[in-house]
């Protein structure tokens, strides 16, 4: 049986006195210790502590209590509570508890409806039923809820339309434009080749860009753009 001692400081493979330290997989296979001589163990431990100058051995006449030194007791003594501390603490606790209970109760408690409220509600429901039966328009309440969404959607549509128009104000619709116009409109307006009557220039520019993507564009400037639009 291996006497279990304090783990060695160096975590080496062997324990004190050269005994081999069990490997991890061996721990589970170690035999259980024999009947522990508890009292004997405690006796030995206490003797060792006393020899080191720790509190004296308890006397049986004292009921087995080991009085701690005064200085030890003083170190762990709790401070005196401030005046009113207890009262304040109790008061806070009670308020917190009351609030919690109120929240719980309020969740489930419903006020008793007045007779007038009941009558109004029933009448409104009857009117709504009649209106729905006659294919009435949506309730104004529903429209009021949808109005912000409609406004946002309308604003987005206007912005999108303006963006499309702003991008190319000269051609109403690229989709319906002739082939050469569609090719030309794909290029920046600053470049002269985007105004060529035939599309070969636009095609050759694209090929040049593909062959050397990091290079500056392979085109020349359009004078009208440089003088008029480029100054904006």
């Amino acid at each position: 049986m291996t006497d279990r001692r304090d783990p060695p400081d160096d975590d080496g493979p062997s324990g004190p006195a050269g005994t081999p330290f069990p490997a991890e997989h061996e721990w589970l296979d170690l035999p259980l210790p024999g009947d522990l001589d508890r009292f004997g163990f405690v006796e030995r431990t206490m003797d060792a502590l006393h020899a080191a100058g720790l509190p004296a051995r308890a006397n049986e006449d004292d009921g087995g209590d080991v009085p701690l030194p005064h200085e030890v007791l003083a170190a762990f003594r709790s401070p005196e509570p401030s005046p009113g501390f207890v009262a304040r603490t109790m008061d806070a606790l009670q308020q917190d508890q009351a609030r919690h209970l109120h929240d719980v109760l309020a969740r489930y408690a419903a006020p008793e409806p007045s007779p007038a409220f009941v009558a109004r509600t029933l009448a409104a429901l009857a009117v709504e039923r009649d209106r729905t039966a006659a294919a009435a328009p949506r309730s104004s309440a529903g429209l009021r809820r949808a109005w912000p969404l409609l406004a946002v959607a309308a604003g987005a549509a206007v912005w999108l339309g303006l963006s499309l128009l702003r991008r190319d104000p000269d051609v109403p619709s690229l989709r319906n434009a002739p082939f050469e116009a569609r090719l030309a409109h794909g290029g920046p307006r600053a470049f002269a080749h985007t105004y060529a009557t035939t599309p070969l220039g636009a095609v050759l520019t694209t090929i040049a860009h593909r062959a050397d993507p990091r290079a500056l564009p392979d085109g020349d400037v359009d004078g009208a753009w440089l003088l008029l639009e480029g100054s904006r």
Partner: protein
């Protein structure tokens, strides 16, 4: 009796009375026609001056709805609620009959005021542009415009209705019914570009010449074009590319000639058919020739023979496949620049720049006057672009340069770093003009792979130089800084 009356009398005595009468009738008709055209131009000018582009477009009975829509878009740039231009249009060339229409060149002069700068105020603006106008004459003698497109002010490649560019090594055109309209350089995004319009129909064939440093095959380029149509224009369906040899070379195609044809069905408005695009791509000696014909299904079917005649008129001028200088010659002709190793020289604009040693240098084509890119073994890059002052301006100024660079950065999703170097304009020590340096960061701060980005600007009157560096690592950054010291702009 004046001189002309003497001539008429003499001719009449000699028995040419009928011819004289005919000539008089024709002259009278022509004078009536010219007067009617002038009235129409005045009406269109008045509508433009009022800013009523809807009425302007409604005046047309368009042969090509897409062209009219793009013309409207062009005009709309000058019509703003807070700004108005006044236009005066004059006949710029003798009207002629093409495809059942009267076609003429028109000069437009736009006058107005534009903001003068950040301190407020305005300045007078005079802008000149040319268009090609096609008219149909009604029974009552009035003209109805059917077609109006921008045309490049000058195009030395246009000879009659043939578009011939020896540096780009091709020619095409000269077929009845087709009107050749050279494009302005900044519109076409290529070295050279022109549109052939089958007047009276909605069929158009766009021609463009490019150099592509990736050196794709014709099939790869055609497929990429078709894919991009789909990406930009909605639902499209493309056929597989098939090998194609230009008719002029069918008997003895030169080695190295790579040609394909590819058909694309285009999406139209509201899900309807948008017609078809027929792509022909030829790659030869480093140059790409793109022929893009488009039209409605019905028009392409009805005029298939005329379209084929135009395609058959395309031919290469030089067929020597060993001519490695063709692409470089085309670049030098159209951009003014050439590369010698990493050294770039542009005599047309007086610009020179020695790129970092050991980097790969490539000239590129696009909308800018010239565009060169150097790439390091680590993937760092430095770009040199030159931008001419656009139409309506005689010179760049710091305000307009800032505006343009801000747009470029916005499109590239980068912005000036808050703690970057001082970004104000200063006098450039060696080149003259004014310069500015902007340290940029990606707008997406989570882009941890982003290179260190510095944009250096040099403003020299009519030219804005943009040196854009995107470097990985300090070594590449130092190499770019050293290279920037070599920039010269006379």
């Amino acid at each position: 009796m004046n001189g002309s009356a003497c001539v008429v009398a003499t001719l009449s005595c000699l028995g040419f009375g009928a011819a004289v009468a005919d000539a008089r009738a024709q002259a009278g008709a022509a004078a009536d026609g010219t007067a009617a055209i002038r009235r129409l131009l005045s009406e269109l000018d008045a509508l433009f001056d009022r800013g009523d582009l809807d009425a302007y477009a409604a005046r047309f009975a368009p042969d090509h709805a897409g062209a009219l829509e793009m013309r409207r878009r062009q005009l709309a740039r000058w019509v703003r609620p807070d700004h108005r231009m006044q236009r005066t249009s004059t006949i710029g060339g003798e009207p002629r009959e093409v495809g059942g229409r009267t076609v003429l060149r028109v000069h437009h002069e736009l006058r107005g005021t534009v903001p003068a700068g950040p301190d407020g105020g305005t300045r007078e603006l005079v802008l000149r542009e040319d268009t090609m106008l096609a008219l149909r004459r009604r029974g009552d003698g009035r003209f109805v415009p059917t077609f109006e497109v921008e045309v490049a002010a000058q195009s030395p490649c246009l000879q009659g209705e043939v578009f011939r560019c020896p540096p780009c090594n091709y020619e095409i055109g000269g077929i009845d019914g087709w009107l050749c309209v050279p494009e302005q350089r900044e519109r076409g995004q290529s070295l050279d570009a022109a549109d052939f319009w089958l007047i009276g129909t909605d069929v158009v064939c766009s021609v463009a010449v490019r150099v592509d440093c990736r050196a794709p095959t014709a099939a790869q380029m055609a497929t990429e074009l078709a894919t991009t149509f789909h990406e930009l224009g909605g639902d499209t369906a493309a056929s597989a590319p098939v090998a194609w040899t230009p008719k002029a070379l069918a008997g003895d195609p030169p080695a190295g000639l790579d040609g394909v044809r590819l058909d694309v069905r285009l999406a139209g408005a509201g899900g309807a058919s948008g017609g078809r695009a027929i792509l022909h791509v030829v790659v030869f000696a480093g140059l790409q020739h793109i022929l893009l014909a488009r039209g409605s299904d019905a028009a392409l079917q009805a005029h298939a023979a005329q379209l084929q005649q135009l395609i058959d008129s395309y031919r290469l001028i030089l067929v020597d496949p060993t001519n490695a200088r063709l692409a470089a010659q085309a670049l030098q002709h159209h951009t003014g620049g050439s590369l010698d190793g990493v050294r770039y020289r542009n005599d047309a604009f007086g610009v020179s720049f020695d790129g970092p040693a050991g980097w790969r240098a490539e000239q590129r084509c696009g909308g800018a006057a010239f565009h060169v890119r150097w790439t390091s073994p680590n993937g760092s890059r430095v770009y040199l672009r030159g931008h001419r002052a656009p139409a309506g301006m005689t010179a760049w100024c710091p305000t307009t340069a800032d505006r343009w660079v801000h747009q470029l950065c916005e499109s590239a999703k980068i912005e000036a770093a808050a703690d970057g170097a001082d970004a104000s304009w200063t006098e450039h020590a060696t080149c003259g003009g004014r310069s500015r340096t902007i340290v940029c960061v990606p707008r997406d701060r989570s882009d941890t792979d982003a290179p260190q980005r510095v944009i250096r600007l040099l403003l020299r009157g009519d030219l804005l130089l943009v040196v854009d560096s995107a470097t990985h690592g300090e070594a590449d950054d130092r190499a770019v800084q050293a290279a920037v010291q070599t920039l010269r702009a006379k």
